[in-house]
């Protein structure tokens, strides 16, 4: 490491300097490690596979402990996820392990929606983390991270190929979580069949574009072992918590009439490889990938959905404040608009009804006028008739009077006549 080679004193140039002695910052990784150990680690495993395929047994075998679990029945209505968290300790390392079981997977007659509860669960964990990250007062450093770091997909040991349910499910999950496919109950497949089966599975995954987790090969310390393990995927595993005496050792194994399948025997199954890769070598990388890739993808999609952008129409970068302020303005404007709309609707309604009522009033008024006129007519008729009658009466009275006046004179004549 030579001294710097720039002439001008510039703030942006990074100079390489050599040290004249032991400064001591080579303890930085140790400081970091000691802090992590004090904080404790957290790891979340999702096991996806049919009922009875050996998920719980494998977990017990992997972590050398009896996790509590009830055997699931085959008659679940749908798929539901059952997370369980355990505190484990090995030497001075504390691990908060969460195992999520998919209960009822593969049991229904119609399995079209089987993947949905799984995807929803994974998304919910991302969402919870995102919400915490977006809070104003947040505490990320002691947040219990529940995001799924690894999905172990259990493939049934048919020996032929993947089931369509497997392909569909893995395709839906590969952009959300690290997937390691494993062949369960591998003690039912012979070596040659297994070899063919593995090749078939991998080619099917490739041809369907399913992205499974690749053990990282960029770190020289582990690249060799990782790349060789990549070639053994999918791991064919056997799980067992029972112990069998083989020779002078007691090992975990499955006892058959024809022999003993030893879990930790690498020529019997790939259990040891799985444990190495999953726990001993790449646990931290799985956590990192979940955070840096899958979570970031989720976060990006979610924020874009909510209308956040990194640059405004002029391609100037937005600051967070501007973004939030813009959002807020939009939001308030939206609310105001809604309020206006509602008021307007009411004003219209009122106008309409008013017009209606006015119309009715007018009709009523008209009716009233009409009746009035009718009444006037009738009254007039009555008056006419009355006048008629009166006239007749008058005429009659006059006639009567005339006759009576006449008859008053008449009787004299009669008398006169009589006298004569």
């Amino acid at each position: 490491m030579a001294a710097t080679d720039v002439d001008v004193f510039s703030n942006e140039e990074k100079r390489n300097l050599s040290l004249g002695g032991h400064v001591g910052f080579d303890s930085l990784p140790d400081q970091l490690v000691s802090k992590s150990v004090t904080q404790g680690f957290c790891f979340n495993i999702l096991c996806v596979g049919e009922t009875g395929i050996g998920k719980s047994t494998l977990m017990n075998t992997l972590f050398n402990t009896m996790f509590e679990n009830e055997e699931a029945s085959h008659y679940q209505n749908g798929v539901y996820l059952r997370p369980r968290t355990y505190d484990l300790q090995e030497s001075n390392v504390h691990l908060k392990l969460t195992i999520v079981d998919t209960v009822g997977f593969g049991d229904q007659i119609n399995k079209e929606d089987s993947y949905k509860p799984i995807v929803d669960y994974i998304d919910t964990q991302f969402e919870n983390y995102l919400q915490e990250e977006l809070k104003i007062k947040r505490s990320l450093f002691n947040y219990h991270d529940t995001r799924i770091h690894i999905c172990l997909y259990f493939i049934a040991p048919t020996g032929h190929s993947l089931k369509s349910l497997d392909l569909v499910t893995m395709k839906k999950l590969d952009s959300k979580v690290n997937i390691i496919p494993i062949i369960a109950k591998a003690d039912t497949i012979s070596k040659s069949e297994l070899h063919k089966f593995k090749i078939k599975i991998m080619s099917e995954l490739v041809s369907n574009g399913v992205q499974i987790y690749q053990f990282p090969t960029d770190d020289e310390a582990v690249s060799e072992i990782n790349s060789s393990m990549n070639a053994h995927l999918p791991f064919a595993v056997v799980g067992s918590v029972e112990e069998v005496k083989v020779g002078n050792k007691t090992v975990r194994a499955r006892q058959y009439p024809w022999g003993v399948v030893q879990v930790e025997n690498e020529s019997h199954c790939d259990f040891v490889k799985l444990r190495e890769m999953l726990i001993r070598v790449n646990m931290e990388d799985l956590r990192e990938q979940t955070h840096a890739r899958h979570y970031e993808l989720y976060r990006r999609c979610k924020l874009e959905e909510m209308g956040f952008k990194d640059t405004d129409p002029d391609s100037q970068p937005f600051s967070l404040q501007e973004t939030y302020e813009a959002k807020r303005k939009e939001f308030l404007g939206d609310l105001q608009r809604k309020e206006e709309e509602m008021r307007q609707m009411f004003v219209n309604k009122v106008k309409e009804t008013e017009a209606e009522l006015k119309e009715r009033e007018r009709e009523l008024h008209e009716k009233f006028e009409q009746l009035k006129r009718m009444h006037q007519d009738e009254k007039r008729k009555v008056e006419e008739k009355r006048k008629e009658l009166e006239d007749e009466m008058n005429a009659f009275n006059r006639k009567k009077l005339a006759v009576e006046t006449l008859s008053l004179n008449q009787p004299l004549k009669k008398d006169k006549d009589k006298k004569n």
């Binding site: 910052f25 080579d26 140790d30 050398n64 770190d219 990006r300 404040q321 939030y324 009444h375 009555v382």
Partner: protein, 429 residues
């Protein structure tokens, strides 16, 4: 056994492992990855000219960060306070450290030093702002951490106490950065003077409620004892030197005086080794963590609270601050929807009531109209009847009278006929 703190998840069961699992290797994995990533650290040095800041940095990192080609802050004469950074990459034992030294030439050198801390505050805030923006982007790439992790504040070795500028500066910066006060050029103080000076300084620091960086307690009791010892030595009195001198056959960094050599790395001469151990060998990571978890979060929550409280009723409770601004908007939206619903219901109610009233009025009018119409009809009918009656009476009367007249006429006729007959008969003379 270490007690685990209580967690929020209720059902966590303890399990004992019955054999080898392998996650005890996790720390090694973390170690490996961190070495691959490399480390970053930003150190800020503040103090008046001539207090030995550059020399101390060179001594701390055993390198010529400041040299003739790259002069230290005091060599660069500035009229106003500047904030300048130098980035260097140093490697040791396979570990890469990108060290950024931020210095403030011109600090405290003017006659009027009011607000000379402002450029410093602005610098720290701008780094926080950069990080906040990087963290809040939709597309996040690698987020380089340029935030200031530690600020070494150099106190002039007057032997009496803190100067007003010292107090003012530390008070303004203790909420933004880890402040570690140092007594500079400690080789001008005898051990007793130094003790008194330290006591005085600590007293004043406590009086003014200045929060300097505190060493966290660890779970290890041995470590805690050491930490307590260090705490008693605060503030650390340091001596720096660019020169290597020979003392008793050993080559050491020191300052050669006619009366002896003040050795930089001698614990009885000064606290330099304590500073170096603490700053670099044991607490560098913690300084970064405190910056990230405390100072940065403070800045962030203040910044975001300002954004969300814009135009919102500020009398709302503090409980709001635990939500993200988006969640808050969601909640406001829900509140608004409810308010609108209520408003709609109310308006609807008023509307219905008014309509009902009007309709009722119309109905009443209509009924009234009907009633009057009925009445008038009956009136007319009565009149008709009356008229009919009258006519009938009249007709009767008329008929009677006419009948009477006819009888009379008949009688007359008969009478006159009889008379005629009688006349004819000669009876009548």
């Amino acid at each position: 056994m270490i007690e685990r703190p209580d967690t929020a998840v209720p059902s966590i069961a303890q399990r004992n492992l019955e054999g080898y699992v392998g996650f005890a290797n996790l720390p090694n994995q973390v170690y490996r990855k961190s070495v691959k990533r490399g480390f970053e650290f930003t150190l800020m040095v503040v103090g008046e000219s001539g207090l030995g800041k550059s020399t101390l940095i060179n001594s701390l990192f055993l390198t010529d960060l400041y040299s003739k080609d790259y002069p230290g802050p005091s060599q660069r004469i500035k009229k106003t306070v500047q904030v300048e950074q130098s980035k260097v990459l140093i490697k040791e034992g396979g570990v890469q450290l990108t060290l950024t030294i931020v210095d403030t030439p011109g600090f405290g050198d003017a006659v009027d030093n009011s607000n000379c801390w402002q450029p410093v505050i602005n610098y720290i805030d701008s780094k926080f702002e950069d990080f906040l923006n990087a963290e809040s982007r939709v597309n996040r790439r690698s987020m380089p951490d340029n935030r200031v992790h530690c600020c070494l504040y150099f106190i002039a070795p007057s032997g009496h106490g803190l100067k007003p500028l010292d107090i003012e500066f530390m008070k303004r910066l203790h909420d933004k950065v880890n402040v570690i006060p140092l007594i500079a050029k400690a080789d001008t103080l005898t051990p007793e003077e130094c003790q008194l000076f330290k006591k005085q300084i600590m007293k004043e620091i406590q009086e003014h409620k200045i929060k300097i960086y505190e060493f966290p307690d660890t779970e290890d009791d041995e470590d805690n004892k050491l930490i307590r010892k260090i705490k008693e030595k605060m503030p650390l009195a340091v001596v720096g030197s660019n020169v290597v001198v020979e003392v008793n056959g050993k080559k050491v960094r020191g300052r050669q005086y006619p009366w002896g050599v003040a050795e930089v790395e001698n614990g009885e001469h000064c606290d330099f080794t304590v500073l170096r151990n603490m700053l670099i060998r044991t607490h560098m990571q913690d300084l970064k963590d405190v910056t990230n978890n405390v100072h940065y979060e403070n800045y962030r929550s203040k910044k975001l609270a300002a954004v969300t409280c814009n135009g919102v009723d500020t009398t709302k409770t503090k409980g709001q601050l635990t939500k993200s601004p988006l969640a808050q908007m969601e909640e406001e939206r829900r509140e608004h929807v409810m308010k609108m619903k209520k408003m709609e219901a109310e308006m609807e109610q008023v509307f219905e009531m008014k309509v009902k009233e009007k309709k009722q009025k119309l109905k009443d009018s209509e009924a009234e109209l009907e009633r009057r119409h009925e009445q008038m009809k009956r009136n007319l009918e009565a009149q008709y009847k009356e008229l009919e009656e009258k006519r009938r009476v009249f007709e009767d009367e008329k008929a009677n009278w006419e009948a009477q007249q006819r009888i009379l006429e008949q009688q007359k006729l008969d009478a006159s006929k009889t008379m005629e007959k009688n006349k004819k008969k000669g009876k009548i003379f």
